[in-house]
């Protein structure tokens, strides 16, 4: 069996008395699409915040590429190759779409303090940025101000930013929510293509159909605990999952 790229071991996060995430373990393997499923308030976004370093876990460890990353500040975790998007999109509103991507483009290359003074926007950089924008389908909007874009485009912009940094793992937090039907199809194809380029993807999603169709494996959370893990078709038949999702009424209805 291959080494896991990311492994989450017994991670918990308490807010006062509330156990937002409670001893969750799972592994993610290279070039996998892993879905995190769960009802509202199950702790999915908190889990992402723990992995990407926005929160420190109360207990447990997170290992990435064999090294421990919990406790590191977010930007150091990101520099090791972990990128993410946000459920509530966070574009750099005062910059253009192209500039949004150019900031991200510089993260690895201008990492050292002496190098940040280099100018942005050389021809080569712009070409590179436009390639990524082309991949996510935002070429025409490159000069538009990010704050003026509709939601669907912003979700793709966030993915473009993560792609150009060169992150090996992408955490996508409800990237499908609020999208039109045709946009959902486009985004599904985009995510598959990103995976085929050699990246690993973890996504939080509410839309069952999307999750089942897209993911190789699924982890289900409820009230901060992991209640199931496995291939989509196993998850669909898992009793604990059905109960968490549909409630007892749902089971009796189904039977």
């Amino acid at each position: 069996m291959t080494q896991p790229l990311l492994s989450v071991n017994g991670v918990s996060k308490y807010f006062g008395g509330l156990k937002a995430v409670d001893e969750v373990d799972f592994d993610v393997f290279p070039r996998e699409i892993l879905g995190i499923l769960g009802p509202n308030g199950a702790g999915k976004t908190v889990l992402f915040n723990l992995i990407s370093g926005i929160y420190q876990p109360t207990a447990g460890e997170v290992h990435f590429c064999g090294q421990r990353i919990d406790g590191l500040p977010p930007h150091l975790i990101a520099q090791r190759g972990m990128g993410r998007t946000f459920q509530i999109v966070k574009p750099f509103g005062s910059l253009t779409v192209l500039q949004n991507v150019l900031v991200a483009r510089g993260v690895m290359r201008y990492g050292h303090l002496t190098k940040i003074w280099g100018p942005w926007g050389s021809k080569a950089e712009i070409r590179e940025a436009m390639e990524v924008l082309d991949k996510v389908g935002l070429t025409e909007l490159a000069q538009r101000k990010a704050s003026l874009l509709p939601l669907g485009n912003l979700r793709r912009l966030e993915i473009a930013r993560a792609l150009i940094v060169g992150h090996t793992v992408l955490l996508l937090d409800e990237s499908f929510s609020g999208l039109r039907h045709d946009e959902i199809g486009q985004l599904e194809r985009l995510i598959r293509r990103i995976r085929d380029d050699g990246r690993t993807i973890i996504l939080i999603e509410h839309n069952m159909r999307v999750t089942m169709g897209l993911c190789d494996r699924i982890v289900v959370l409820d009230h901060g605990r992991k209640i199931a893990e496995g291939a989509p078709k196993d998850i669909q038949q898992d009793e604990a999952v059905i109960e968490a999702y549909l409630g007892r009424k749902g089971i009796s209805h189904a039977s």
Partner: protein
């Protein structure tokens, strides 16, 4: 030009340099600072001490003044990474009051009397005063504007904007918000220190009251009036607020009210300032500029 006009002009240019520094902190990096006069004062006092007590010339002291100003800016900028935006506003007010109190009450800094006898700047054997001093200040302003322009062209500025707009998104992309916030503070306060040094050598006598909190409010008003985050905004704002009182000299009693009402109206109706992106002035000028190009 009469010597009076030159005096007004010199003060305006010196203030413009300080406001450019404030613009880096507030406009580029989006961190509110209501204590900029403190850093202006730290530059002035450092220059004054180095020239009167250590006997250094303006030129040998200048790198030290800028370095010390930047370093103190770094130390006092540390709260900015720990506290939220509205806390930072109050913290910087606090810094201004504390720094002013230190100047006023510590005998080492001349106490309530301030420091006098600061020598004039000597340039190739000539003592600069009047017109020549103004020219020197203009050269420094030009250099500072050049730095500001360069800042908008380099990747560091994009990173600063990113941290300003969405700190958490920037950090999960790999941009350290600590680094860029402190960087803006250091650059902005060194510019203030440069301005302070020029001020000390121009006035030849400085006093804690020159760097009190209302001076910080004045700097911020100039920046808001001109337009935060623009290159020319600080210059325009300083020029207008510097010249207006001279025009309205007969109404001397209503001068401060006029000032504060102007600031209030600006922030209420044009928070982007005169040169801001959606300002009325831009809208009026845009068609003219476009016709000029065509």
């Amino acid at each position: 030009m009469s010597s009076y006009t030159i005096t007004i002009g010199t003060i305006i240019v010196i203030q413009a340099i300080a406001v450019c520094g404030l613009n880096v902190i507030v406009g580029y990096a989006g961190q509110i600072s209501l204590g900029h006069a403190a850093f202006f004062g730290i530059g002035a006092y450092t220059a004054a001490m180095l020239s009167t007590k250590a006997g250094l010339s303006f030129w040998t002291a200048l790198p030290l003044v800028i370095a010390i100003g930047g370093f103190i800016g770094f130390l006092l900028g540390l709260p900015s990474i720990r506290v939220r935006e509205d806390f930072l506003a109050i913290t910087t007010i606090g810094i201004n009051f504390i720094v002013e109190a230190v100047f006023r009450y510590v005998p080492f800094f001349g106490g309530a009397l301030g420091i006098g006898g600061i020598p004039r700047i000597v340039f190739f054997g000539e003592r600069l005063k009047g017109m020549t001093f103004l020219l020197l200040c203009l050269v420094f302003l030009f250099l500072v504007l050049l730095v500001c322009w360069w800042l908008t062209r380099c990747w560091a500025s994009l990173a600063c904007y990113a941290v300003r707009d969405e700190e958490s998104a920037a950090s999960t992309m790999g941009i350290s918000h600590v680094r860029f916030k402190l960087l803006a503070f250091v650059i902005g306060t060194s510019m203030a220190a440069l301005a302070g040094s020029l001020y000390a050598h121009y006035m030849q006598f400085i006093n804690a009251g020159d760097f009190s909190f209302p001076v910080s409010v004045g700097f911020l008003s100039m920046l808001v009036l001109g337009g935060m985050g623009t290159i020319w905004g600080p210059v325009i704002g300083t020029l207008i607020l510097g010249v207006l009182p001279e025009i309205f000299r007969p109404l001397v009693d209503y001068r401060i009210l006029f000032y504060t009402l102007l600031l209030l109206l600006m922030i209420r109706f044009q928070p982007g300032g005169l040169l801001g992106e959606e300002s009325a002035m831009r809208r009026v000028l845009a068609p003219i500029l476009r016709r000029g190009k065509a």
